[in-house]
Amino acid sequence: MVRSRMKKQWLYRIGLYLLVLFIILETILPFAWLFISSITRNEELIMTPKRWIPEQPTWDRYNSILFGKEISFRGASLTGPAKMFQKSLVNSLLIAGSVTALSLFFGTLAAYAYARLRFRFKNALLMLAIGVQMLPPIAIIIPLYLLLRDLQMSNAFINLILIYCSITVTYVIWIMAGFFTTLPRELEESARIDGCSRLGALFRVLLPISLPGLVATGILSFLTIWNEFLLALVFVNDGTAKTISLAIGEFSTQFSVDYGMMSAGGVIISIPPILLALLFQKYIVAGLTNGAVKG
C-alpha cells in the first residue's frame, strides 16, 4: 500500500517535470532558432541535412544592421537597408516613448476625474470610449485616412503619435480609474486638510501609491505601440516616420532570400520587449489580469 503510493508519487513527479520540460522547450525553441539563424553564416544556413549549431558563429549581421553604413546582401553592398533600419529604430523609440508619456500624463488626469469627481455624461463617455476600442481597427482606419487627407495633415510622425495616443489613453484611463477607486478617499482628504490642492494631493499622495499601476500601464502601452503594424502601414507613406515593424516588414520583402539578415533584425527588435517583460514580469501580469480576476 505504502509502496504503491510512493510509486504513484514518483510517477507524478516524473510526469510533472516532463511536462515542465515540454513547456520550456515549446516556449524557447522557435525563438532560439531565430537567434541561431542570425549568427549562422549563409552557407551553413542552407545546408541539408540541417545543421543546428553553427560551426563558425558570426556577429557580422548585428554589426552591419546596427552600426554599419552598408549591408552586404548576396554579394552586393547596399546602403539603404542599414540606414533605414537604424532610423526606424530611433523612430519607434521616439514614437512609443512619447505616446507612453503623453497618454500616461493625460490619461492619469482624466482617470482621477473619473474616480473622484462628479460630472455629466461621465459613465456614458467611458463606455463609449471603451466600446469603440472593441471595433476592428480597420473601422477606424478608413475614416481617419480620409479625415487626415482632407485636413491635409501629412506629417506621418505627428499623425501616428496622435492616433496611438487615442488608443493608449483610453486604456490608461480605464486601468488607472479602476486603480484610484480602490484607494481610500481619506488619503487625499488628510493631505488637503494639510493645505494641498486637489492636484497637489493627486501628485503627492495618490500617484506615489499608484506607482505599480502606472508602471504596468506604461509598459503595456509602450509594447502595444512598439509592436503596432497595421496603422503604421496605412499612415506612413514616406521614409521619415517609418517604424520598426514596418522596417522588418520591408526587410522581409527586400531580403526575401536572406533569412539570416531577417533573423538578426527580428532578434534586435525583440530585445526591448523581452527585457521589459522579464524585468517587470510581476507588473505586466498584474496589468494583463487586471479586471479579469475578481477578488
Binding site: L19, L109, L162, Y259
Partner: protein
C-alpha cells in the same frame, strides 16, 4: 475642474476614434472610392453587395475556422500549462517568467520567424522531420491553402498561449485550497475535482479570454501580411485582411467601411452568445 482634467483625453478619443467611427458609418452608406472623386449616397447598396459576394462569405468562413481552431487548441493548451505551472516544482518562478517570452515578441517578428521555420527548402521544421525520418520529402507548408491557414494559426497560437496561461494561473490562485481538501475527504478524485471545482470557478476568466481572443482573431492581420499575404489561392484571406484588401487594394472606402461594420456586428453577436453560454450562477 473635472472638465479641465478630462478634456485633453476626451478630445483625443472623440476626434480620433468616436467621430471617425460615426463618419465611417456614414461612409458605409455612400459610394466612396479614391478612384472616383464624386461621392454619392448609396443607401444599403454596399451592404447588399457584400452580403451577396462569395469572397466575403469565404473570408468570414475562414475567420470562423480560425477562431474555432485557435480558441479550442489554445484554451486546452493554456489551461494544461497553467495547471502544470500551478503545481509546486523546482524553478517554478523562473518558468513562470520565461513563459512570457512569446507574448513579448512583436507580431511581425513572429511572422518572420515562422515563415523561416516553415520554409520548405531550408526551414527548421522540414529539417527536423527529414532527419528523424517522419517524412522523406519536404512539405510545402505555406503553399497549400488549407495547410497554410493552419500554419498561420500555429504561429498565432505560439504567441498567445502565454496570455491564456497568465489568465488561468491568476484564476487558479483565487480558488480556495480547502475546497479541494473538502472534496478529497468526500472521496472525489482528481478528475472529479477538476470538473466540479476548477472548471466552474474558472468560468468568469474563460469568458473574458474568449471575448478578448475572438476580437483579436477577427483582427488578425500582421502575421498574415508577413507569412502569406492572404494566399495561396486566398487560403489565408481572413476577414481583416479581406477588408484591408478591399479598402486599400481596390480603394473602395465605402465598401471597406460597410465590411468593418458587418464584422463588428458579428463579433458583438458572438460575445453575447458566450455570455449566454457561460452565464455564471451569480445572477440567480
Amino acid at each position: 475642474m473635472a472638465w479641465v482634467l478630462v478634456l485633453p483625453s476626451i478630445l483625443l478619443i472623440f476626434g480620433l476614434t468616436i467621430y471617425p467611427v460615426l463618419y465611417s458609418f456614414w461612409l458605409s452608406l455612400n459610394n466612396v472610392s479614391l478612384l472616383n472623386p464624386v461621392r454619392s449616397f448609396a443607401g444599403l447598396n454596399n451592404y447588399i453587395e457584400i452580403l451577396s459576394s462569395q469572397a466575403f462569405w469565404a473570408a468570414l468562413g475562414r475567420t470562423f475556422y480560425f477562431v474555432l481552431i485557435s480558441l479550442s487548441v489554445q484554451t486546452v493548451a493554456g489551461l494544461t500549462f497553467a495547471l502544470v505551472l500551478n503545481q509546486p516544482f523546482y524553478g517554478r518562478g523562473f518558468v513562470r517568467a520565461l513563459i512570457l517570452l512569446p507574448w513579448a515578441i512583436p507580431n511581425i517578428v513572429n511572422g518572420v520567424m515562422w515563415e523561416w521555420i516553415l520554409n520548405s527548402s531550408y526551414g527548421a521544421l522540414n529539417g527536423i522531420l527529414l532527419q528523424i525520418g517522419i517524412i522523406s520529402e519536404p512539405i510545402q507548408w505555406l503553399s497549400k491553402p488549407w495547410l497554410a491557414l493552419n500554419m498561420v494559426i500555429l504561429a498565432d497560437t505560439w504567441k498567445v498561449i502565454p496570455l491564456y496561461v497568465i489568465m488561468f494561473l491568476a484564476g487558479l490562485q483565487t480558488i480556495p485550497k480547502d475546497l479541494y481538501e473538502a472534496a478529497r475527504i468526500d472521496g472525489s478524485g482528481v478528475w472529479r475535482s477538476f470538473f466540479s471545482i476548477t472548471l466552474p470557478l474558472l468560468k468568469p476568466i474563460l469568458l473574458v479570454i474568449l471575448v478578448l481572443r475572438t476580437m483579436q482573431c477577427f483582427g488578425v492581420f500582421d502575421i498574415v501580411y508577413i507569412m502569406t499575404k492572404g494566399g495561396p489561392a486566398d487560403g489565408t484571406m481572413v476577414i481583416s485582411f479581406f477588408t484591408y484588401f478591399q479598402t486599400f487594394g481596390k480603394l473602395n472606402f465605402g465598401m471597406g467601411s460597410a465590411i468593418s461594420f458587418l464584422v463588428a456586428f458579428v463579433v458583438l453577436s458572438i460575445s453575447l452568445v458566450y455570455m449566454r453560454l457561460l452565464k455564471t450562477d451569480e445572477a440567480d
